[in-house]
Symmetry: C2
Subunit: 325 residues, 2 copies
């Protein structure tokens, strides 16, 4: 994480499927030497082809930080030898099949092979880390680092510690992800689906309810997001969106619209969330991020950023047509 | 809706607050003569200033369809005389205060003043149309046309008919909105919050639950959307997102991940939605939109569109900085 790209310590990516390939691109683009591991040379050769094709696309959109595709590709060293891949690695990003026996066995092996200083991170979306890292040697260096695919385009990474994960390891992984160009968030404790799939699941669930009730067809729901809510969410989260949609901030927003939302969601579930402790926390957090007297200024910023986004999306429709010509 | 901009019939916008101003910009940009109504000349003069400022910003981002701001501004005629505004208008977009007595009284008045061919549309987010249009003369021409603010940037418009709304009026309003550059969706029946606030409410509610449980802080949730889920949602809805995240489409996605989502949401609520009728409908709809054997091609299109978006957002961060210099 220090200085020039050439000084970066190696990262190991274990598993060369779609997620492993995407992580390899991500770390290599940021200057890390990447050891890419899988069980056969055929898989690794195929992975190398996919990486080369993606790097060529990324260069076209100027998303390689000025590096040539060949230069980035050369940082990725494929190998079927797991122990060699792990030797001296600062960080291991595991991308193996999503079953608990697979993950448990692999983490146990990696725990034996890797030096105690090597962080062992899993890409899993399905399992909290305590389900497969409890028996690992130096289990305090294990955690989940879950990307949204592909991480070289979508920067969010969810860091999920097990109860036994060392907070210093979480902080170190957070710094590594920032150095790799990602936007990490840290969960305070394990939860099924982490943050992203809980949010996504809630939205999809409501979308399915709307279809089931015959209120709108699925195509209308996709338009409601892609031509509506999604435009702001491309650069602003839901809490800041709320804050900027009422003159006096987020509590003002909840006072204006919370009644409607509670009615939609059903009072028995909603009442506790839309008042009291949760709202107190959100308001306190927002106050640390934006002075009350700058809400108007921030609204103007949002509107101009939205104009910029809308203009870019219009141009993108011309550049990247469907169906392809 | 025919031919050149100069042939368009007039549209009346009733109420010159933030929403009315935004609608006036929207219709005027698309070439409609706009009659903008409010109760005092002072309010209308202030509105005109806000419109002029927004048009100047829009021109800067090339979002005026090549027209000069002054040319668009000249299409907006402010007047305190409601009857004159409605006379000969093809469409009325009501943007008055959000109370049922206000809406009911205004719609009754407009029903008397406007010719029977004039569509009376409300911008309300809070009320389904049957709550305030039942006593209107020719109530079959009344409906809700709810924008996301500001509609000149966010194209989604939700059209919500009352039980007595003529389907031909809904279809005519849909065409008018398309001609005005919007992306209308039609709800099959009334529902509190329409589609957008039901989707938004479900997401915010889950975000509040995550905060309440101490899983993640509000800033982390905003990052989870703005640097994660929101990037895809800026050009693709949740159902198409699901479809492209499993090799064999949306049912395959639900078979892979539906168990996790049902576990997150709670089986008692989730089981019925994630299987059976709702999923059948979504799958049938998606099949009309994309052939099964083109999923891979569409995934590549999505990845390139995402690259384009990410590159544009990076450039936008440079162009529209915060805090402002």
């Amino acid at each position: 994480m220090t200085g020039a790209a050439t000084e970066r310590l190696p990262v190991a990516v274990v598993g060369a499927g779609l997620i492993g390939i995407a992580w390899a691109i991500c770390f290599a683009r940021a200057g890390y030497p990447v050891r890419l591991n899988d069980r056969s040379d055929e898989i690794l050769a195929a992975a190398r082809e996919v990486i080369a094709a993606a790097l060529s696309d990324l260069a076209e959109f100027d998303l390689l930080a000025g590096h040539a595709p060949a230069e980035v590709l050369a940082r990725v060293r494929p190998s079927t030898d797991l122990a060699r891949c792990l030797d001296g690695a600062v960080h291991v990003q595991e991308c193996a099949p999503e079953t608990i026996p697979d993950k448990s066995a692999l983490f146990a092996r990696m725990g034996e092979m890797a030096g105690p200083e090597t962080v062992l991170a899993s890409s899993t979306s399905a399992f909290v880390p305590s389900l497969f890292t409890g028996a690992v040697r130096h289990r305090e260096r294990c955690l989940v680092a879950h990307p949204i695919n592909p991480p070289y385009l979508v920067p969010l990474v969810q860091l999920v510690p097990a109860p036994w994960t060392d907070p210093a390891i979480v902080a170190r992984t957070e710094r590594l992800m920032v150095a790799a160009g990602q936007s990490p968030i840290v969960l305070q404790r394990e939860t099924d689906g982490f943050v992203v799939n809980r949010l996504q699941g809630a939205l999809i669930h409501e979308a399915l309810r709307i279809v089931d009730e015959g209120v709108a067809d699925p195509g209308a729901i996709d338009i409601a997001i892609a031509r509506g809510l999604g435009l702001r969410w491309a650069f602003m989260g839901p809490f800041e969106t709320m804050e900027l949609n009422a003159p006096a901030g987020i509590r003002d927003y909840v006072e204006r619209y919370g009644g409607l939302y509670r009615r939609i969601i059903g009072v028995e579930h909603a009442e506790a969330m839309w008042t009291g402790r949760a709202l107190d926390r959100v308001e306190a957090d927002r106050m640390t991020r934006l002075d009350r007297d700058r809400i108007g200024e921030r609204q103007r910023w949002r509107d101009r950023r939205l104009m910029d986004l809308v203009a870019s999306l219009k141009a993108a429709e011309q550049r990247t047509r469907w169906p392809a010509a």
